[in-house]
C-alpha cells in the first residue's frame, strides 16, 4: 500500500544533539543561518533575561521569519526590557517594524500599563498616536481613562482625533465632560467637532 507509516514516530524522536543553554542560544542569534537564528529566538522564550539580546538582534535582523519569531518571544517574555525594546521599535523609520511592535504591545497589557502615560506624553506626536493605536485592543480597564486624559490635554489635533474615534466606540457616560471640553478646545476644527459629537451621540444612545 502506498500509504506508509513513518519509520520512527515523531514523538519518539531522540533528544537534541546540542545542549540548549541560554548563553549558547544568545550566541546563536548571530549565526549566519536564519534557521538557526529562528530556532534560537524561539527557544529563548524559556530564558528570562534574554530580552536585551533579542531586541539588539531585532534592530539588525533582515530575515522576516526570524524577526517575527523574535517579536513573538519578546511578547512571551513580556518583561520591562522587552517592552523598552518594543518602544524603541515604535520610534523606528521602518514602518513594518513599527507596526509589528504596536501589535506585540497590544498583547502585553500588564507590562505596557505602567508606561502608557509616559508614551501618551511623549514629545513625539507620532509616537503618541501609536500609543493610542495600542489602546485600540489593549485588554486593560484603564483604557477609557487614558483616552479621556488624551482628549483633555493633548495639544495635537491628530492625536486627539485618533483618541476620540476610539472613545466613541468604548467610552461611557464618564467621558462626556471630556468630549465637551475637547469640542471647546478645538472649536474651529470641523473634524474634531464632528467626531466628538458622534462619540457623544453614541454614548448617549446607550
Amino acid at each position: 500500500m502506498p500509504l506508509i507509516k513513518p519509520q520512527r514516530s515523531p514523538d519518539a524522536a531522540p533528544a537534541r544533539e546540542l545542549e540548549r543553554d541560554c548563553a549558547s542560544l544568545v550566541i546563536s542569534l548571530n549565526n549566519p543561518s536564519p534557521v538557526t537564528r529562528r530556532w534560537a529566538a524561539r527557544d529563548l522564550a524559556d530564558c528570562p533575561g534574554s530580552s536585551g539580546a533579542l531586541v539588539a538582534r531585532l534592530g539588525e535582523e533582515s530575515d522576516a521569519s526570524v524577526r517575527e519569531v523574535i517579536l513573538t518571544t519578546l511578547t512571551r517574555l513580556g518583561d520591562a526590557a522587552a517592552v523598552a525594546g518594543l518602544v524603541q521599535c515604535m520610534r523606528s523609520d521602518d514602518a513594518a517594524l513599527r507596526n509589528e511592535a504596536i501589535e506585540a504591545m497590544k498583547l502585553l497589557p500588564d507590562a505596557v500599563a505602567p508606561i502608557m502615560r509616559d508614551l501618551l506624553a511623549d514629545p513625539d506626536s507620532d509616537l503618541r498616536i501609536f500609543a493610542v493605536n495600542i489602546l485600540e485592543s489593549l485588554k486593560h480597564p484603564d483604557v477609557e481613562l487614558w483616552l479621556r486624559e488624551v482628549i483633555e490635554r493633548d495639544p495635537h489635533i491628530n492625536v486627539c482625533a485618533t483618541a476620540v474615534d476610539l472613545l466613541g466606540e468604548v467610552g461611557s457616560a464618564a467621558a462626556l465632560d471630556s468630549l465637551y471640553q475637547l469640542k471647546a478646545r478645538f472649536a474651529g476644527q470641523a473634524y474634531i467637532v464632528f467626531a466628538a459629537d458622534l462619540a457623544i451621540k453614541r454614548i448617549q444612545q446607550d
Partner: protein, 281 residues
C-alpha cells in the same frame, strides 16, 4: 426597563470586531444566530446593555469572555469529508504541484492537527487512494496529532457513528468500513496507514520533532487560540514544513491575519498558504 437587545449598529460593530479577532465572519443572514448568543452571554455576565458587554469583551484582561463567546459561536464537530473542497484541492492541486517540484522519490509527508477522533486524517487517506492518480508512484505518510489522549485512542480504534459517516458516498462506505453492532468500523488497512501521536501545539518541546512535512492540515483549531498562541502556532508550522510546503486552514481562518511568513496561494478549489521556497528579504 426594556428587554436587552442588539441593534443593527451593534451587530455590525460586533461582527467587525469578531472577524478581526477570530477570522470568523457572519453574514447578515446569520443575525439571529449571532444575536441569540450575544444576548445569552449578556445575561450570563449581568450586562443589560450591549455596549457594556462589548467593552468587557474587548478589554477584559483574561480574555475569558471572548473565549467563551468564541466557543458558543463556533460549532465544534467533525465528520468524514467535512469541507471536502480542501481534499479536492489536495489531490487536484497541491499534490501535483509538490510532485512537479520534486527531484527525488522521497516520501511525501502530511501532518494533520488536531486529529480529533480521526475523521479528517482518514478522509485524507481515502481521498488520496481514490482520487490521486500518482498514489502508486509515491509513498505518502500521514501523521495525525491531538492533545487529547482519549480522543487519540478513539481515533486509533476507528469506530464511527451514523452521523460521522453521513457524508461518505455509499461505495466508499462499503469499501472502507464494516458495519458492526457498535457502528462503522474503518478498515485495518486505513488504521494502519495513519500514525496518531499526542502533541500540544503550544509546547515547543512537543512540536520540535515535527519537521519536513509537505502539507499541514490545521483546520478549525486556531480560532480557539488567543493571538499570541496563534502566532506561535504559525511559527511552529513554518519550521514543520519543508520550503514550498503548504498549510490548509479551516474555511473561516486566515493565516494572513496571524502571520506574514506565508504566501497566499489561490488554487481553483481553495485558498491555502505556502512556506516560501526562497529566503525572504
Amino acid at each position: 426597563m426594556p428587554a436587552p437587545s442588539i441593534s443593527e449598529e451593534d451587530f455590525h460593530k460586533f461582527r467587525e470586531y469578531f472577524y478581526r479577532k477570530t477570522g470568523i465572519q457572519y453574514e447578515v443572514s446569520k443575525r439571529y444566530f449571532v444575536d441569540k448568543r450575544l444576548l445569552e452571554r449578556m445575561a450570563a455576565t449581568d450586562n443589560a446593555l450591549f455596549r457594556s458587554y462589548f467593552t468587557m469583551l474587548r478589554f477584559q484582561a483574561s480574555g475569558e469572555e471572548l473565549q467563551v463567546l468564541t466557543n458558543l459561536m463556533t460549532v465544534n464537530e467533525t465528520y468524514f469529508f467535512r469541507e471536502e473542497y480542501q481534499f479536492k484541492c489536495l489531490v487536484d492541486s497541491i499534490m501535483p504541484h509538490l510532485v512537479e517540484k520534486k527531484r527525488d522519490q522521497t516520501t511525501l509527508r502530511i501532518w494533520v492537527i488536531p486529529s480529533s477522533s480521526g475523521e479528517e486524517p482518514y478522509s485524507i487517506a481515502i481521498y488520496l487512494l481514490e482520487h490521486w492518480a500518482d498514489i502508486h508512484n509515491y509513498d505518502v505518510e500521514i501523521v495525525a496529532s491531538d492533545i487529547d489522549t482519549t480522543i487519540l485512542t478513539q481515533a486509533r480504534r476507528g469506530l464511527y457513528s451514523d452521523r460521522s459517516i453521513g457524508q461518505l458516498p455509499l461505495p466508499l462506505l462499503q469499501k472502507y468500513f464494516r458495519k458492526s453492532r457498535d457502528g462503522y468500523q474503518i478498515s485495518d488497512e486505513l488504521r494502519g496507514a495513519v500514525e496518531f501521536t499526542r502533541v500540544n501545539l503550544s509546547e515547543p518541546a512537543d512540536t520540535r520533532p515535527y519537521r519536513n512535512f509537505d502539507v499541514v492540515f490545521c483546520r478549525n483549531l486556531l480560532i480557539y487560540f488567543d493571538d499570541l498562541s496563534r502566532k506561535t502556532a504559525a511559527e511552529t508550522f513554518y519550521d514543520a514544513l519543508k520550503p514550498g510546503g503548504f498549510i490548509c486552514l479551516g474555511h473561516s481562518e486566515s493565516m494572513s491575519r496571524i502571520s506574514s511568513l506565508y504566501k497566499v496561494v489561490k488554487f481553483p478549489q481553495a485558498i491555502v498558504y505556502q512556506k516560501p521556497t526562497e529566503r525572504q528579504p
